[in-house]
């Protein structure tokens, strides 16, 4: 386990390797989106319940939109209303 961790540490702390990892991550993203498109093209009998699910790379698209929407809307709600100083309930 120790060697595995020092391996992980090397990957994270070496900027050259980190850049290489990042590049691979973009490749994975492209493959994920592409796989969705290909699969829906290959499978003629769709299991979709809704028409919007047949939109090309629907999962990838909705995942990105959801993630961004959750972060922005929550932070907005937090800033204007919900977030208080940590000692709010102590005072």
């Amino acid at each position: 386990m120790g060697s595995a961790m020092s391996f992980l540490q090397r990957q994270i702390e070496d900027p050259v390797r980190l850049t290489r990892i990042k590049r691979w991550c973009y490749v994975v993203l492209a493959i994920a989106a592409l796989a969705e498109v290909v699969v829906s093209y290959v499978l003629h009998a769709s299991h979709s319940h809704f028409s919007f699910e047949d939109f090309p790379a629907w999962g990838s698209l909705y995942g990105l939109v959801s993630c961004v929407a959750i972060i922005l809307v929550s932070k907005l709600l937090g800033k204007v209303w919900l977030m208080r100083r940590e000692d709010y309930y102590d005072s």
């Binding site: 999962g59 990838s60 995942g63 990105l64 977030m83 208080r84």
Partner: protein, 588 residues
């Protein structure tokens, strides 16, 4: 109670009291044997009705054993076992007794066939779990424990009121589908108490308030039993109630929103319990065979992966003393095993293929699709992205990677790692062999989670959620804040109420009420008293003084005669005799 029926819950509740009497290895053996035996009993159960007792002319059923109660009893007793493994090193008998009682209460609720025994076990769970909060023995934990207990006592009273009304209306205490009394007062009250325990907003703020305050090991038990036993009773009584569809979907998103704002690691995970239970409540509301199976399967899978996540966060808390994400970072160097096991739980809750959440959560989402509930489908899928965002990315990033905080926690004691390992194995086994879980579900239907389309769209969704996370990472840095939730009403709202009482209400009392009092009460009373006093002086005093005066005068006269000298008495007697003689002479 017949011999062929030993209640696994009562075994835990009464067996727990043996622990303080035992020592060392024997005690640790008993800690594992008790939940182990309960699990064995549950596994050996055959459907039927056991433990029927007559009480107050009612049938109290301690053992309703059918497919639904059996599958919940498996996961509750398995969870009790995993929790005890995790707590094996803790030298505090009161925690173990409380935890086993709590697990026993959950099993009691699961097997209860009537409202009376349901209510007793329900309250037992509330009290024993409050103890798990208090036993952290810090001021914030004591306060949170009191809030937790008061909320649950309130919920228990609502349940009791509902039960009594239901009893008076139907003449029966049997607990089953409540559809017959749909919309009635009893139906509503019992539903509200169930929703409170399921942490459905706005009744659910007690959960993220109390769970992060509990002991490291106690919180692991708490994640499993209260909300999931509430899901169980909702399936029993309220399957197909449309309100629950929308409450559940809203709840799934609500937990995710709060998780964005949260800095306390265990509170972030607690908000994700709310979110995950939302899927189950939604499934109960949809009510189809697939949806009920989905709610049950998701409860089963959720108990195991959520326990694993709380075990991981608890291990970090125990080994470093840090509970806020802003204090952590860089722990992967010294706690790699904890990180690895935590990530298994994170992948399971995020519904990554080959992990348990994938095969259970998708059932509920598919059921929403089959019922053509488009908005619900979208809300649940959005919450899925949010789950991965927080539990799978944000929390591990700030806890184990991120900016090095300088914290150097070691790996936790071996028993904690073993418990996490067992839970991780369960998460993977369910994910890889979903048939093992599916064959236990209440409804016999076919469901195939691993279709090409489903796997690719899930992987696409997860990887692009990760992209969104890294793009917006700067906005996610944990902040030193707390977030307002509905617990505000009893934490600050009550303080406002007290201010209202002390300020305006007090002035109102002294002013208006005081004036009215003066006018209505004091003046007439004083007037009457004055009159009475006058009567007293004039009539009674005069009479009394008069009597006194005449007595005094008489006494004074008497005094001149009664001088106390014998010669005076002799003189008077002589004078009297002379007077008598004079009378006699004159009369003759």
């Amino acid at each position: 109670m017949t011999l062929e029926w030993v209640h696994p819950g009562l075994l835990l509740i009464f067996g727990a009291w043996a622990l303080p009497l035992l020592k060392g290895r024997l005690k640790r053996a008993a800690m594992l044997l008790l939940p182990g035996a309960a699990l064995a009993i549950c596994l050996a159960l055959t459907p039927g009705t056991y433990g029927v007792v007559s009480f107050l002319g009612q049938e109290v059923i301690f053992g309703r054993v059918d497919r639904l109660s059996v599958v919940f009893s498996y996961v509750f007793s398995l969870m009790a076992f995993l929790g005890m493994v995790y707590a094996l090193h803790v030298e505090d008998d009161s925690q173990h007794v409380a935890a086993l009682t709590y697990a026993g209460g959950a099993l009691g609720v699961t097997f209860a066939g009537d409202f009376l025994s349901l209510y007793v076990f329900w309250e037992l769970m509330a009290i024993s779990s409050a103890l798990l909060v208090w036993q952290r023995r810090e001021a914030s934990a004591v306060a949170a424990g009191f809030r937790y207990l008061l909320v649950h006592v309130f919920g228990g009273l609502i349940l009791l009121a509902g039960i009594l009304i239901h009893w008076s209306q139907t003449g029966s205490l049997a607990f089953g589908d409540m559809g017959a009394s749909y919309g009635g007062l009893a139906w509503t009250l019992i539903l509200v108490s169930f929703l409170l325990n399921a942490a459905v907003p706005p009744l659910g703020a007690w959960l993220p308030d109390a769970y992060p305050e509990a002991t490291v090991t106690g919180a692991v038990f708490m994640t499993a039993f209260t909300t999931k036993s509430a899901v169980y009773v909702l399936i029993r009584g309220y399957a197909g109630t449309e309100l629950l569809v929308w409450l559940g979907a809203a709840m799934a998103v609500y937990g995710v929103v709060y998780a964005v704002l949260e800095n306390d690691a265990r509170r972030l995970l607690a908000y994700h319990i709310v979110s995950q239970v939302g899927y189950m409540v939604c499934g109960v509301g949809i009510g189809t065979a697939l949806a009920i199976n989905g709610a049950t399967a998701h409860a089963f899978a959720h108990i195991l992966y959520k326990a694993l996540l709380f075990m991981g966060a608890g291990a970090v808390l125990q080994m470093t003393g840090a509970r806020k994400l802003s204090e952590m970072g860089g722990l992967y160097k010294t706690m790699p095993v904890t990180l690895g096991l935590y990530m298994v739980g994170a992948f399971a809750i995020s519904a990554v293929p080959l992990f348990s959440g994938f095969v259970s959560k998708s059932m509920v989402i598919s059921a929403a699709g089959e019922a053509h509930l488009g908005p619900v489908f979208l809300m649940l899928t959005l919450a899925s992205a949010g789950t991965f965002l927080h539990t799978g990315l944000k929390l591990p990033y700030y806890m184990f990677f991120g900016e090095d905080s300088g914290l150097r926690g070691q790996e936790p004691p071996r028993n904690m790692l073993v418990a996490m390992g067992l839970a991780a194995v369960a998460c993977v086994v369910i994910g890889v062999f979903p048939g093992l879980l599916y064959q236990l579900l209440p409804n016999a239907i076919e469901y195939v989670p691993y279709t090409l389309q489903h796997v690719t769209s899930t992987l696409g969704m997860l990887s692009f959620t990760a992209l969104g996370f890294f793009l917006l990472l700067r906005h996610l840095d944990p902040e030193l804040t707390v977030s307002l939730d509905t617990d505000w009403f009893y934490r600050r709202g009550t303080a406002r109420f007290v201010n209202l009482v002390e300020g305006p209400l007090a002035r109102l009392e002294y002013g208006l009420v005081g004036e009215i009092y003066e006018l209505v009460m004091r003046r007439p009373v004083l007037g009457a008293a004055y009159l009475l006093r006058k009567l007293d002086t004039v009539v009674i005093d005069t009479a009394a003084v008069g009597v006194g005066r005449s007595t005094q005068t008489f006494s004074r006269i008497l005094k001149t005669v009664m001088s106390g000298h014998a010669q005076h008495y002799g003189l008077i007697m002589t004078a009297g005799i002379l007077a008598l003689l004079t009378l006699a002479v004159l009369a003759s």
